[in-house]
């Protein structure tokens, strides 16, 4: 066994341990004072001379998830056994972690904020906030009276396209707004608020005359959007991308992906407030934009890599694609079946469906149909707006 040599000019175990925590932090494992303290206490409980024991103990203390646990051994060796790899892989892992942490933090923030906003909207007398909801939608609809009915293929001038993009983005944002305002009336809640009832009944000699109910605010559905940017979808890609941008920027929990022959996650790129940088990031990600499509394979990858974290019973998976697939149709069916089993609702928006006389005969599309909760057209902005009532209904 190699003798543990302590790097730098650390004075005592406490300082060395603090140095190790700094090393972990630099490599994307968020270890702090609390961990240092625990680690020092742990050293007293195990044989501090046995490097295997110490490693095992520190791993239990410092690692926070499976990924960090996997990387821990290497980081441990690099620091305590002085292999000089102090910054190994720092930039990549660190930034990846930061992005995750940031996303998670923002999500909590976002949901909290929307809750408050929603509370303010909820009328106390228990009538539902339906009136307000309908109002917003109308407003948007009337503002965009001409462009919304035009088939997106016919938008030729850059001005039209830009306008369509704006509208698509606004529609997407309004979807989020309306969802978060959905509240059940407390006067018709599901559960009796026994605590309150009893308190009030004391004055009435134990007769529960006034009834109070408890209700849980509906949590918004979590949207995951997958956009097909293959050759056959090119004419729609710009507007749909704007739609995705609207969805993503309205809600931190929304996830967006592009796929053609590969699948790329674009949520972070779309959230980038700097437009030019966002465009750059996107164009780098979308190498192969406008080529062939592999829907089945991409859905499979989505299932394997992302679905476990991001798809649950409250998720709505929106697929924007024309269904032309170079993979065998069974693959799409199989992938959708798996996705469905996670409890998610699946929406397929197909621009071709708006065409007159369209039948879903593309083999991939036909195979997917049995697994869809909602299959709708998407060749005009109206169609995108029509998604909202459906989302509110679920």
């Amino acid at each position: 066994m190699q003798v543990t040599r302590f790097p730098e000019r650390a004075q005592g175990p406490a300082e060395r341990m603090a140095g190790f925590m700094a090393h972990l932090r630099m490599n994307g494992i968020p270890a702090g004072l609390n961990e240092t303290e625990t680690a020092l206490a742990a050293l007293g409980a195990v044989d501090a001379g046995d490097i295997g024991e110490v490693r095992s103990a520190l791993k239990a203390i410092c690692a926070g998830d499976a990924d960090q646990e996997m990387r821990f051994d290497e980081l441990f060796d690099a620091y305590w056994r002085n292999r000089g790899r102090k910054r190994g892989g720092a930039s990549v892992t660190h930034s990846a972690h930061n992005m995750q942490a940031k996303g998670a933090g923002n999500y909590r923030l976002a949901s909290g904020a929307s809750d408050e906003a929603g509370e303010a909207d909820t009328p106390d007398d228990g009538t539902e906030g339906e009136a307000g909801r309908a109002g917003t939608g109308q407003l948007i609809a009337s503002r965009v009276s001409t462009i919304e009915k035009t088939d997106l293929r016919k938008l030729m001038t850059p001005e039209d396209l830009e306008r369509a993009e704006q509208v698509a983005e606004r529609i997407a944002k309004s979807i989020r707004d309306r969802r978060s305002r959905r509240r059940k009336a407390a006067a018709r809640g599901a559960v009796l608020d026994m605590r309150k009832i009893l308190r009030r009944s004391v004055n009435r000699g134990g007769e529960p005359i006034d009834l109070f109910y408890k209700t849980r605010p509906d949590r918004p559905a979590r949207i995951v959007a997958l956009l097909d940017v293959s050759g056959s979808m090119t004419v729609y890609a710009r507007v749909f991308l704007a739609f995705l941008k609207g969805l993503v920027s309205a809600d931190q929990a929304t996830d967006a992906y592009l796929f053609h022959t590969q699948l790329v996650r674009i949520s972070d790129a779309l959230r980038d407030s700097d437009t030019m940088r966002a465009v750059n990031r996107l164009s780098i990600m979308a190498q192969g934009f406008g080529g062939g499509t592999r829907i089945g394979a991409n859905l499979k990858i989505f299932n394997a890599q992302y679905a476990a974290q991001s798809v649950n019973g409250r998720s709505v998976v929106i697929i924007l694609s024309d269904g032309y697939d170079t993979d065998p149709p069974e693959m799409v069916a199989d992938a959708l079946a798996r996705l469905k089993r996670r409890g998610a609702r699946i929406v397929w928006l197909n621009p071709l469906k708006g065409w007159e006389g369209y039948e879903p005969v593309a083999r991939g599309m036909a195979a997917a149909l049995p697994y869809l909760d909602h299959f709708a057209a998407a060749n005009t902005l109206d169609d995108l707006a029509a998604l909202e009532p459906w989302l509110n209904g679920i």
Binding site: P30, A42, A60, L198
Partner: protein
Amino acid sequence: MTWQSLQADLSSAGYVASDDLAMALFLAVTLGKPLLLEGPAGVGKTQIAKTLAELQGAKLIRLQCYEGLDASHAIYEWNYQRQLLSIRAAAEDHKPSDEIEDHIFSEKFLLQRPLLEAIRQEKPAVLLIDEIDRADEEFEAYLLEVLSDFQITIPEIGTIEAKTRPHVILTANGARDLSDALRRRCLYNFVDYPDRRTEMAILARRCPDIEARLAEQIVGFVQALRREELEKKPGIAEMLDWAAALAGLGVNDLADDPVQTQATLVCLLKTERDRAAVPKEVQQRLAGKAA
């Protein structure tokens, strides 16, 4: 107690723990920290809490999480029926309402739920918070508070301090991401499917009657099966069920008895699709590999 002795104790109680898991559990017990265990279903995350309780002679208090779990199911609830009766009785005696209120919101009318029960034990209990990732984020936040202070505040009574600190074990299998705050508060171990050697040890410990050769085949087969693309990979419990089934049927060699083997696969493959994905040929190939 050292971590090796804990590992040995676990083993004699029928739980074969990896070094890392034994160390994590040892530290959790020694340092009084909660332990978060993550991993696929059926690798013995829940079992370790049961075994620990058994070893310590402690009470196992289990809180099964689910979506919508709230304080009244996890911490405490007032006993409304008794309160109502008591109000009626008191009203007949014409007691002032202040007095009645003080009376009905006293500990006598409190129903303890797992979290409160756990900190009120005379002897440290083992508190198993199962599938924490199924509970809502709000509950997670509340749990953090309980886990850091080990005290529970009830508005009507005041703060209830812990009599003893329970050993807390949380399990999760990735239904959703847990908050960083919770992860940081806990010791962590990822419990994966056991390797071949460990699984052999588990099988030998739990079903000592099985012949060495059959045991090797069983473990080999299950290990190979986990590498197949299945919806639900068989866990340790499934492996043990299967071993018991084969032993019960008197199968001595998987390769000799493909019909029985095929028939007993119900113990391992729990969905229709997985059954279809492992037809006879695959099964024979796996069995061949295992033999």
